[in-house]
């Protein structure tokens, strides 16, 4: 599979993907319609500058990394130390491109994708072209981001979920596996698995943490990894994996004998793995499925990090997943707000728009307040993660807000449309179903 293009440096190609997506956007009148041409152009200028700089650096350090034999890691972010809510130029580029993609294509495909339980291939391809599954891959291994990019992932997740939460999940799920390997994998695991995620044909992959039982706690796993000589033997079940039937690679959370909760890299060909369809209330474009793990034998080096990953790394994985789900909930909450505003302004009752009534108007205010707070809490957790600060508390808080307020927003979205909100002619009933996922899901996505 090695070709000249492959060797050219994946960072450069990653930028090319971004360029291609943006170029297509630039040609359409979409940018003018949503009045973001200026921002995109400015961000593109900045992003291109950085992208090409990364490409050269990647070419050089690639060899050095090989010699060192140490796992490649993205750098921690730096900060001026000032409170700031403005994304940097590179992030703005991703954000604007993600928003345009969501509005122009994801939203339009969402109804059918929900019905068919399938994400359209062209949407998946374009999400990959945008680079949504490469954010956690170190530059040396073909990634496009020099620094850790939880905030960038959050901004993209938010942007895509504004189009559709289920599609965003399906599109971003492989990136969780790449990011997990990029953050905690050994040099060998990185070299073995990450190149596939920087190519054109990105494999379906799943970070499998959630288990099918009430009161699931990711720190009390029932999926067990028993030590048998040099080998591990895994047994258990994992829930609600995106595109489960297509997955070629899994990172599975299991309670490892003598270690505690840990992650294992498992290829789909491993004997003892089966997939069961697991349709749910929402997330339907992700064609969710259950992974049954029946005494799957794994070599010692299947343990992610090959012994170097610690308990705190597993906790970080759980919390980074929670942040990712918060980003999706935030995007969808914003979608609810943006959808109900014109609806309640247009809808007439008793001779005037229903938004002239406080009972309706105040519900809109609350959606505005709580969705804003969900976003800020999610950004805080992600930015702490990027700078290498503790972020477990902040992730828990963001999750609490996105679970409770996010669901309330989903419910109010339907309520404000009344009977019309209950039928599939409007997307709010889908958002109602999808927003419930934010408090249910563990793992599956990663920032």
């Amino acid at each position: 599979m090695t070709t000249t293009t492959e060797n050219k440096g994946m960072a450069e190609r990653g930028m090319g993907f971004g360029l291609r997506a943006l170029n297509r956007l630039a040609g359409s009148d979409l940018l003018d319609r949503i009045r973001i041409r200026k921002q995109v152009e400015r961000a593109l200028f900045q992003g291109t500058k950085n992208g090409f700089r990364s490409a050269t650096a990647a070419g050089r350090t690639f060899k050095a990394a090989q010699k060192l034999g140490k796992p490649a890691r993205q750098k921690k972010g730096r900060s001026t130390g000032l409170f700031d809510l403005t994304p940097d130029d590179e992030q703005q580029m991703f954000q604007e491109a993600g928003r345009a993609f969501a509005e122009d294509q994801i939203r339009k495909a969402a109804l059918e994708a929900d019905e068919k339980r399938e994400i359209p291939k062209e949407i998946l391809d374009q999400a990959n072209e945008l680079g949504v599954n490469m954010l956690g891959i170190p530059e040396e291994l073909g990634g496009v981001m020099t620094e850790q990019s939880a905030v960038t992932s959050v901004l993209i997740g938010e942007a895509l979920a504004h189009g559709d939460l289920g599609i965003a999940y399906a599109a971003m799920a492989p990136g969780a596996v790449a990011t997990a390997i990029g953050l905690w994998g050994s040099a060998k695991q990185e070299a073995t698995y990450l190149p596939a995620f920087t190519g054109e044909d990105i494999p379906a992959a799943a970070l499998a943490v959630l288990e099918p039982r009430p009161l699931f706690d990711p720190f009390q796993l029932e999926t067990k990894a028993k030590k048998k000589g040099e080998e591990w033997v895994l047994s258990g079940a994992k829930s609600l994996l995106a595109r489960a039937k297509e997955c070629e690679l899994f990172v599975i959370a299991a309670d490892a004998e003598g270690i505690g909760p840990a992650l294992f890299v498992v290829e789909s060909g491993a004997k003892g793995l089966t997939i069961e369809d697991e349709p749910a209330m929402g997330l339907r474009p992700a064609a969710t499925g259950r992974l049954l793990i029946d005494k799957v034998k794994l070599p010692a080096n299947a343990l992610l990090g090959e012994g170097a990953a610690k308990a705190k790394d597993y906790a970080a994985c759980v919390n980074r997943s929670r942040i990712a789900w918060c980003s999706l909930a935030t995007g969808t909450a914003q979608a609810v707000l943006d959808y109900v505003i014109p609806y309640v302004n247009d809808r007439q009752a008793f001779g005037e728009p229903i938004s002239n009534r406080q009972g309706v108007a105040f519900a809109v205010s609350d959606i505005g307040i709580e969705s804003n707070a969900m976003r800020l809490a999610t950004y805080r957790a992600a930015s702490r993660a990027d700078r290498g600060e503790s972020f477990g508390r902040e992730a828990a808080i963001a999750r609490k807000l996105c679970t409770a307020k996010g669901m309330r927003i989903g419910s109010d979205g339907v309520q404000l449309l009344g009977g019309h909100g209950f039928v599939k002619e409007h997307p709010v009933e889908r958002w109602y179903r999808d927003l419930r996922a934010a408090g249910v899901m563990e793992g599956a996505l990663l920032v």
């Binding site: 720190f219 505003i341 938004s355 406080q358 800020l376």
Partner: protein
């Protein structure tokens, strides 16, 4: 770069304010809750100290006097006096809201003056303690309906009317009074006037007995042929369409401050409750899902999440003001969220702590009483929701009433 942490340069200020709260406010908190209307004389020395702090720093102070909108469009991210003031207020109200409101020279009138006064007015009235008189018996949230009148007579305005709920009204040196130049012209004719407390036309009717913030005096006044010089009018004397909007804009600066007060008292209640729960053997864990923990821990996490939401919205509103971004929407969001969270959380903490929380041996019950005003003054919860809704829905006050 996105960063929602408190900047290092403000940490000394926050820590000083916290020391004041710990060493000065908390020890006398209960004393002035019981001795309503007694002047907390301990605050005089402290006020001088805070004046000194404000004087000696370019980052604004711990009180309300510090907020003046910065004008800048160089595109550089700025953390300025709005943010530092909010941080100072949070710490001080973690100590005691009533005492913060009683701090000489830190009144909301001061922040109104700081926001719109001319250089001459600043010179003339600077260094004095200013209270704010807006509410009337028949006009609360509906400030456009105020009946107090101001008539120009030669070089003086003559004020007549009745004002209630004037925070620090008895103790302040100045009262900023809202009055109408011409009642037939509606809200456009409403202006604010600086009245000296010893003006013979300003008569104190009574001091209120209240649910909370008892350390702070709340005065009712009658203005009877109260004459003030022409120069006492704050802002533009012309009656213009947009005039009232200008007056209301000062609230964009002060709403985040009241939100900060609510954030402070909320944090106080949460910290105390966390301690009490720990003593009772309930540990709060951030990794384990809330529903797998003790019900009290799950409730605590819910309250802490609302607290953090209020805190973040408050910082956002202040940060936007520091960076000259229009923040009327975010200021109201912060005020609405912090106001209701303050009440919900302080009451929830009393509930969790049972009779210990309800009794006067602890301050939890006091915080639950103090917090209620913060969801009322400077615009009630309902008024904030109105402001937010009008902005989000692009409605006029005639359409969405």
């Amino acid at each position: 770069m996105i960063n929602l942490e408190i900047p290092k340069k403000f940490k000394p200020l926050a820590s000083q304010a916290n020391q004041v709260a710990t060493e000065v406010f908390r020890p006398i908190s209960r004393k002035y809750d019981e001795a309503e209307h007694a002047y907390p004389k301990e605050l005089d020395m402290l006020a001088s100290l805070i004046d000194g702090m404000n004087e000696g720093s370019d980052i604004g102070g711990a009180g309300a006097a510090g907020v003046r909108r910065e004008k800048s469009d160089d595109g550089e991210n700025r953390n300025g006096s709005n943010l530092s003031t909010v941080l100072g207020i949070i710490e001080l109200c973690w100590g005691d809201v009533g005492l913060l409101l009683s701090m000489p020279r830190q009144g909301l009138g001061n922040s109104a003056i700081a926001s719109v006064a001319t250089e001459q007015q600043l010179e003339h009235y600077g260094g004095k303690w200013a209270a704010m008189a807006i509410t009337e018996p028949e006009a609360g949230s509906d400030s456009a309906a105020i009946r107090t009148t101001a008539e120009l007579d030669g070089d003086e305005y003559v004020l007549n009317g009745e004002k209630i709920f004037v925070t620090s009204g008895d103790r302040a040196d100045l009262i900023v009074v809202w009055a109408s130049l011409d009642r037939s012209k509606g809200r456009a004719a409403i202006k604010s006037f600086i009245v000296e407390r010893d003006n013979p036309g300003l008569k104190l009717d009574r001091l209120e007995h209240k649910l909370g913030i008892r350390a702070s005096d709340t005065a009712n006044f009658t203005l009877q042929d109260c004459r003030v010089p022409k120069e006492a009018l704050l802002g533009d004397p012309e009656v213009k369409e947009k005039g009232f909007a200008g007056v209301m804009e000062t609230f964009d600066n002060t709403r985040p401050l009241v939100a900060a007060m609510a954030v402070g008292v909320t944090r106080a209640a949460l910290e105390e409750t966390r301690k009490k729960l720990k003593e009772a053997g309930v540990k709060i864990d951030y990794d384990i899902p809330a529903n797998n923990q003790h019900a009290a821990a799950a409730r605590f996490l819910e309250m802490e999440a609302d607290y953090e939401a209020a805190w973040l919205l408050t910082l956002q509103a202040a940060w936007m003001a520091d960076n000259s971004k229009p923040n009327s929407l975010q200021a109201s969001m912060a005020k609405a969220k912090a106001g209701r969270t303050g009440v919900d959380v302080t009451l929830g903490c009393v509930e969790l702590c049972g009779s210990v929380g309800y009794g006067e041996n602890e301050l939890l019950e006091k915080w639950a009483r103090d917090s209620k005003i913060l969801d009322i003054f400077e615009g009630t919860q309902q008024i904030q929701l109105l402001i937010i809704a009008r902005q989000l829905l692009k409605k006029t006050s005639a359409e969405l009433r």
